[in-house]
Amino acid sequence: MLKRWWSTVLIVLAVGGLMAPAGFAQAPIKIGVIEPLSGAVAASGNYVRMGAEIGRDWINARGGVNGRKVELVIEDNKSDPKEAASAAEKLIVRDKVPAIMGAWGSSMTLAAMPKLEEYGVPMVVETSSAASITRRGNPWIFRISPPSEMEALGLERYVDKLGVKRADFLAVNTDWGRGAVGAFGDMLKKKGATVGAAEFMDQAATDMNAQITKIKGTGGDTLFLTTAVEQITLVLKQAQEQRLGRTVVTTGGSSSPTQLIKQAGAAAEGSYHIVFFMPWFPEAMPDGKLAKAFVDEWAKRGHPFEGLTEGFRGHDGIATIAEAVKIAGKDEAKAIQAALWKVSFTGLNGPIKFDKDGPAGKESGQSKPSIFLVQIKDGKVALPDFLAKK
């Protein structure tokens, strides 16, 4: 009996010792993460999660935030808007997180937003591009990814170099895809180009031959493609089978050119991709040292290189929330919301600082991310000729 009593004490002490290593006497700061870890866009969601974990580990290695360790509570939205809303509710109500990062796709983010307003918890949006996210008058939204309009504006200066005269669109049939078609279409019309067909595909669709046949009939020169990397692969392969013969430009930054080279092979040759992180030449990023360190850490953990163009979002999202908690001095939702407006630092993508967007009095935060254009040339990712340093 006595022996058992002693062993209980020992176990309690041992467990207590493990849970509270020196320097982290206080409870950890919880940050909720909602990503598509299964379903149609699972690959991208998992890369963002990996990036977020690196962000967390780096912060904790530097001694945490205000002397407290950061802990991620990660929820899977299954690539499904309904699940995103219930994941947000679960994180807020059951795990009591004071801030969330999520939820990858625009439709998933839009579905989670009413829950943020209902419970008053801020969310840093790391990937979604639909303009409506920051225009709905939800003051709990802080976006570090560019909406499609900002992306289109970023591409505007290259339109002549790309030789776009007559463009067609093929986009995933979601808030993101439809938003991108509108934004890039407006920008191209402003630049004097004609817009031909605007075709859509279901998120899970695998056969896009009907759309490609239709686009082939318009006689355009450039195809703007907006979807996740899996569908970009399929479209490039099927366009090659049908000899579409267009300059392809992908938007949204989720194209993972390295994965395209691997999976679409020659079909990806010559295509242009808008990206927000360039792991092929980290030194060209706004904070070259940070970018290099991230690329190295990613490799050290055995994560696939092609995930880096997605993974950086996770790091920047967690870093943004940690920065806000530091400024707020406490991990309360309302204080973090107020502090997010004061955040100003350079992440992997570049400077992160929020401007007001949306209806007055209920503005959301929108950062101005850096936008880059790369091209697949000879089976490698390179800067386009008109951007390469002479």
Binding site: A42, A43, A205, A210, Q211, E241, Q242, R243, Q263, A267
Partner: protein, 290 residues
């Protein structure tokens, strides 16, 4: 006009693969009275088995497809023995729930085993399309349609012309009588489920190289297979074949001439119309198996 021809060719190719998906499902339903929600997972299994045989086993493309079909049959037989045999005689709802459970378990198993990143399955065909006037078709797709049609004919021959097929039909017409005539009922169930699963795996093995292999690929395949089966009439092999072709062409023309955003809606509108006006399927007149 050129575009119309190309749309029709695309639709036929797509429809051929839908038909292959549909016949496996309709066989299992017609012969076993089982609503197989896990059908799409055998499609996924076929695609991953092909990938594994090529990338890890070092087999050639055609051997890999054959291997995937064998894996699908073995997987189906195992499922029937372990999950379905203890439930024989239970209501259709019970087995349906078990198959939903199997669907979820298999899909998450694939995610665990292979990760969420899609796998590209290499194939030996040239990517340049074969052209005939204004119409182009990739050699791989031509092979897939030919293989799908061959498999459909093989399935029909097996059921109509072999002793096993005869025993299958007898079992499901009247189980007791068939048993009295010396048919081993348990073996027939196992063989039927293995055969249906092998057809799904064959579809996965054939379509994997055209598309990509990823854990949730079976969901869309299941949806299309059920659509095809409803169009053709439950348990109707010829109906599933024609239903598959019809669905493929309808979707293709819908996307080409109505709106690509409503591509899948076109297929479902047809299904609703069929259910309203010919509830037992478009081709209900033709002879039912069993």
């Amino acid at each position: 006009m050129d575009a119309l021809l190309q749309h029709l060719v695309n639709g036929l190719v797509l429809g051929g693969t839908y038909a292959l998906l549909g016949i496996g499902l309709t066989l299992i339903f017609g012969l076993m009275n089982l609503v197989n929600f896990a059908h799409g997972e055998f499609y996924t299994l076929g695609a991953y088995a092909t990938f594994a045989a090529l990338a890890l086993g070092g087999l050639n493309f055609f051997a890999a497809i054959a291997a995937a079909i064998v894996v699908g049959a073995a997987g189906g037989a195992l499922c029937e023995r372990v999950l379905l045999r203890p439930l024989r005689g239970e209501s259709i709802d019970t087995t349906m729930l078990v198959m939903i459970g199997l669907w979820i378990a298999l899909q998450n198993g694939e995610l665990l085993a292979w990760g969420g990143v899609a796998k590209s399955i290499p194939h030996p065909f040239p990517t340049a399309p074969l052209t005939l006037g204004p119409v182009g078709i990739a050699p791989l797709r031509l092979f897939v349609v030919a293989a799908a049609l061959a498999l459909i004919v093989a399935a029909w021959l097996l059921i109509q012309r072999t002793r096993l097929g005869c025993a299958m039909r007898a079992t499901f017409q009247d189980r007791e009588t068939a048993a009295l005539m010396g048919v081993k009922i348990g073996r027939i169930h196992t063989a039927t489920f293995a055969f249906g699963s092998a057809l799904a795996a064959a579809a996965g093995a054939l379509l994997g190289p055209i598309f990509l292999a990823y854990p949730s690929m079976g969901d869309l395949a299941s949806l299309k297979a059920f659509s095809v089966v409803i169009l053709g009439g439950l348990g109707n092999l010829a109906g599933a074949t024609l239903g598959g072709l019809l669905l493929g062409i309808a979707e293709e023309l819908g996307a080409g001439y109505v709106s690509s955003g409503y591509r899948d809606a076109v297929g479902f509108v047809i299904i609703i119309l069929v259910l309203l006006f010919r509830p037992s399927g478009l081709f209900a007149r033709t002879e039912r198996i069993g």
